[in-house]
Each structure stands twice: as C-alpha cells, then as structure tokens.
Amino acid sequence: MSVEAEALDVEPLFRLHYARIARMIARMVRDRARAEELAVEVFLKLWRKGTKDMHCVEAWIYRVALRAGLDELRRQVRRARYEGLLEWMHLERQPATPEELRRNCEVADRVRAVLSRIPVKQAQLLLLRSEGWSYAELAATLRWNPASVGTTLKRAQEAFRKEYIERYGQP
C-alpha cells in the first residue's frame, strides 16, 4: 500500500472523527493543546498501522484515543505528585497561581484524578458511557461481550465511587 493510497483512507476519517476525538481527550487531560497533539498522534498511529486488516477502524480510533488520554492523565497525576513531593522537600517551585488553586477545587479535576487511579478498562468504560454511548457501541468499541457490559459498568462505577470516597470523602 503506497503512502498516497493510505493518505486517501485516513484523511476522510480524520475530518470525520478528529474534533470528537480531540474533545474526548481534552475531557481527560484538561489541556486542549495537548489534547489536540494526542488526537493527531492517534491518526498518525492509524496511518502507520494501515487499515488493511482492521475490522472496525472507528472502534480502533476510539480505543487508541481513550488509551492515549488516560496515559496522559496518569502522567499528569504522577507529575503533580512529584511536584508535591518537591514542595514538601522545600525545593524550588513556582507558587500556585490563583487559577491553579481554583482548578484544584473543581469537581472535574477530582474526577480526572479518580479516573487515573482505577483500572484503565473501567476508566475507558465510564468515559465512553458518560458521553452517552449505548451498551452495543461500548461492546463493539471495547471488543467485549455485549452481555457483560452491564456488569462491568456496575463494577466500574463501584470502583470509581470507592476511590472517590477514599480520596475526597462523600460527594
């Protein structure tokens, strides 16, 4: 498959899904510029992989995007933890800006922190479900048995709730 032929396949998909993918990643990582970078990376991965043997390209794109977003979220949480450690050790660190202080109080940041701590598959499921995906769509995208989506979703919600309470108390 030549580069030109692959470009013809990927570009329409890019135009169709890019905005939604970037928004989905932005919900996870908060930083829109970074979300756009990651979304472009998803399509670069698709281009490198080629589409020949892929059964469902759309499902693949969303799986990879979710994974990329969650990986970035975990990196951000780790970075924040190290920064907290540096602060504790009285090493040089920029003082928190009013914007940072405001953001830390936001529910969204708490939700992101909790999502970064529960198992990736559960986080993926909760994120897609929160965007209104049906059980059938979830099963197709995450390559699960449709019959098990409901049970897995319940477990994911329970894991999320427990982690949230453990970190922040009752909402």
């Binding site: 905005a19 932005a26 979304a39 472009v40 529910v107 969204a108 939700v111 929160s130 919600q157 999320f160």
Partner: protein
C-alpha cells in the same frame, strides 16, 4: 441493594458529567490536518530509536568481547558446541593434520612439579588427551583412559592429560584427585593446542613408539577402536 446500585450509578454519572464542560469547544480540524500531514512527512522516530538501540547493543557486545571473562565463556561455549556437534554426528572424527607427523613436543610440569616431555617418552606408546573440567565429552572418556592406563601401563602405555582449564591447577588438582585420575596431567597452553590442531574439546592423539602420531581424534573417542589401536601400537594383537 437495588437502591444502593441506583444511587451509585446516579452519583457517578453526576460526577462524570463534570467532564462535559468543553462540549462547545470546536477544535480547528483544518489546522490539525495540516499538522498531521506535516508529521506524516517527518522521519519516524521509531526507526531512530531502533537504530539507537541496535548501536548500543552492538557497543555492549563489543565491550563484552574485549573483557576477559566473557571471552573465556564464549570460547567455552564454542568448544562445547563443537564437541556436542561431533558427538551427535558420529562420535569422533579422525583429524587429518597430525597422523604421520612427529608429535609436537612440549615440556610441561605435572601436578607434582615433575617435568613431562613427549620427546623423552620415545619408545613408549603415548596417549595425549586434551581436556577440561567443564567439558562433558571429556568426562565421559577420562574413566576409559584411567582404565587403559591401569591395564596397559606395564606394556608401555603412557597417558598424558593436557588440561586446557584457564583456572589452572586450582581447578584441575582437586578435580583429578576426586575422579581418581591415575595418569600424568599437565596444564596446556594455547600454543600447544594450536600445534595439535585443537579446535574443540576433547582431542586425543596416539603417539607410536617411534614418536610419530599414529592417529588423532577430535571429539569423544570410540572406546573399543581406541583400545584396539593401543593394542596394535603396543604390539599386542588379538
């Protein structure tokens, strides 16, 4: 139970809804597509990473080859492999280099400090065996040589074991004591090994009474054939 589940679902849905704040955001697809096409033209970092990893691995291998310990290990592995291959492909092979030639001489000291010279053993039948404590094939045939020595020494057979252990007597002396080796053992050198054409352990040469090599075998010898040859050289025929 059902109430608890419903409450959990509702509460988690509520919390996750906090992430939906950016729905009004419209990323610039055209600009992003431009970046995508630009990045697609860039050389792939994956190749560079692999090239870097390959370079580092090669450098590590070269470094390891320069160090003495890995060199010895590699040498032993090669010799063992050669010995295993020979034993699998028909016991032993007669080497073409030595037979008919005067046995390469050496002057080495045995475990008791006594000098051993092949040239001084003229008039005797000498079995020279190159071996090492780590060589599996050698350990198989050494008891046969012990038996030959015990049986034919009074008829003029001298068995000389040339150990190629790099650790020298520290390793060899206790080993030959434990295994009850009853014949002369010396520590060989790389030069001597080359003179005998040693390219894998074990190697056994039979030197006739006239000082010429009657036969030489690379690999584990055929016990019966070797014994028969010793008898022939000693002048004893069945």
């Amino acid at each position: 139970m059902a109430n608890h589940e419903a409450r959990t679902t509702h509460s988690v849905d509520e919390q996750l809804r906090a992430l939906q704040g950016g729905d009004e955001w419209q990323p610039d697809v055209r600009a992003a597509l431009g970046r995508f096409l630009e990045k697609r033209r860039e050389p792939r970092w994956a190749w560079r990473r692999w090239a870097m990893a390959g370079t580092l691995a090669t450098a590590a291998c070269l470094l390891a080859m320069l160090l003495p310990s890995p060199q010895v290990l590699a040498h032993r592995c090669l010799e063992c492999s050669a010995a295993v291959w020979r034993s699998l492909s028909g016991q032993s092979q007669m080497t073409r280099k030595l037979p008919g030639e005067t046995a390469p001489d050496f002057a080495l000291t045995d475990a008791n400090g006594k000098q051993v010279r092949v040239s001084e053993l003229k008039g005797k039948v000498v079995l020279v065996n190159f071996w090492a404590t780590w060589c599996e094939g050698c350990q198989e045939e050494i008891p046969w040589f012990v038996e030959f020595s015990r049986r034919y020494a009074d008829q003029g057979l001298v068995v000389v074991g040339v150990s190629m252990d790099s650790d020298g007597w520290n390793k060899v002396r206790p080993w030959i004591r434990d295994k009850g080796v009853n014949y002369t053992v010396v520590i060989g050198s790389q030069e001597l090994a080359e003179e005998y054409g040693l390219d894998g352990m074990p190697l056994t040469a039979l030197v006739a009474r006239d000082g010429k090599v009657a036969s030489a075998y690379a690999g584990v010898v055929d016990r019966a054939a070797t014994e028969q040859k010793i008898r022939e050289l000693l002048g004893e025929r069945r």
